[in-house]
Symmetry: C2
Subunit: 188 residues, 2 copies
DNA sequence: TATAAAACTAAGCAATTGCTTAGTAATAAT
DNA sequence: ATTATTACTAAGCAATTGCTTAGTTTTATA
């Protein structure tokens, strides 16, 4: 009874996600999204409501990709702390761009929008961060000599370090990033 | 022969700097600057050329403030590595806002504008980062047991950590930030 | 006191923003 | 084939962006 959509929502959202990842939320205009996603503004708004809606779906798409490329590997590994270090190295690869790195889309978002960010989007971000932290804690607990207090402290430390790596990867050279990772894990 | 300016450029720039610090470059509109600086757009443009000009002066103002509150203290201290740790703690105080922290204006800028940033502004930022790093190296060299290679590595590590602290301070609680600093200096 | 130079006010500029809407084309059930 | 439903195109909306300009006010000098 009705006409068919000429695009697959999951496919165009992945393109939108990459645009947001490269440029940030504000800098990415609806016109840019139109071009990159290859669909008209009408279609965008009928599928996702508004720009925030497109971004929310992009965030979900990013989470899925990051889960596959990073979190699942961390989850499956039995290497304890070494697995977390692997996560750090994998992240650099994951966020690689043509020249410099793009950082983590979620970190970029919090950093750009801060308090102004939509609460739905923020809760998505927090859920992901909490998930990563719990996996980090599990790997730290592999070492039976550590008490829960040092584990909590080290988990906090690693979460902040991860944020640092995300931002620093956008402006530092590979050598500095590797120096960072190696030094960061020296005392663990 | 001519009318006097009704404002002091240094004073209004400090206000502009605080606005940019809180909101970032793009989110800060010329209208917002007008209100915050308490001067008309005409005056803004005649004093600083354009929005980028206002921002460039704001960056210089930030550098001056950060130098006084952070770098000079680091420079003067004779506590070696402990002085660098002090720098980290001082930074948290320096970037404090009403509720969360504002991070470092320079880090925020690179993170927001990335490659799109004006080259003049970028060179100001790089100069400042290089300056901090050289002071960090000096403090590390206090420990005569460290060879130049480990010093270089540790300096890289600390610079990335500082970026991390800047971003993380915008979203983490004080306890996590202190956990980070303490853990970060454990192996040094 | 008259004058020229600079600084003010405020209205307005084109371009861009996110979003909407009027009109047309395609589709599956009747 | 007709019809109801949805998706498309593309033009256009008000609001905001960075910036300019026309006209007025202030000021130190001649």
């Amino acid at each position: 009874m009705a006409r068919k959509k000429e695009y697959i929502e999951e496919e165009v959202i992945e393109k939108a996600m990459n645009l947001f990842w490269r440029n940030g939320y504000e800098t990415t205009s609806v016109r840019m999204l139109e071009k990159e996603m290859g669909i008209n503004q009408f279609s965008m708004y009928s599928s996702f409501g508004n720009k925030q809606g497109v971004f929310l779906e992009s965030v979900k798409c990013y989470k899925k990709k990051a889960k596959e490329a990073l979190v699942d590997k961390l989850k499956q590994s039995t290497n304890g702390v070494e697995a977390i270090k692997e996560y750090f190295y994998n992240f650099i690869e994951f966020s690689k761009d043509t020249k410099t790195n793009k950082g983590c889309l979620l970190t970029n978002t919090v950093n750009e929008l801060g308090e102004h960010a939509d609460t739905v989007i923020m809760s998505e971000i927090i859920k992901f961060a909490t998930d990563i932290k719990s996996h980090i804690i599990k790997k730290l607990e592999t070492d039976k000599q550590k008490d829960s207090e040092t584990i909590a402290k080290q988990a906090n430390y690693l979460m902040v370090s991860l944020q640092g790596l995300s931002v620093a990867s956008k402006m530092f050279e590979k050598q500095q990033l590797e120096d960072f990772i190696e030094s960061a894990f020296e005392s663990l």
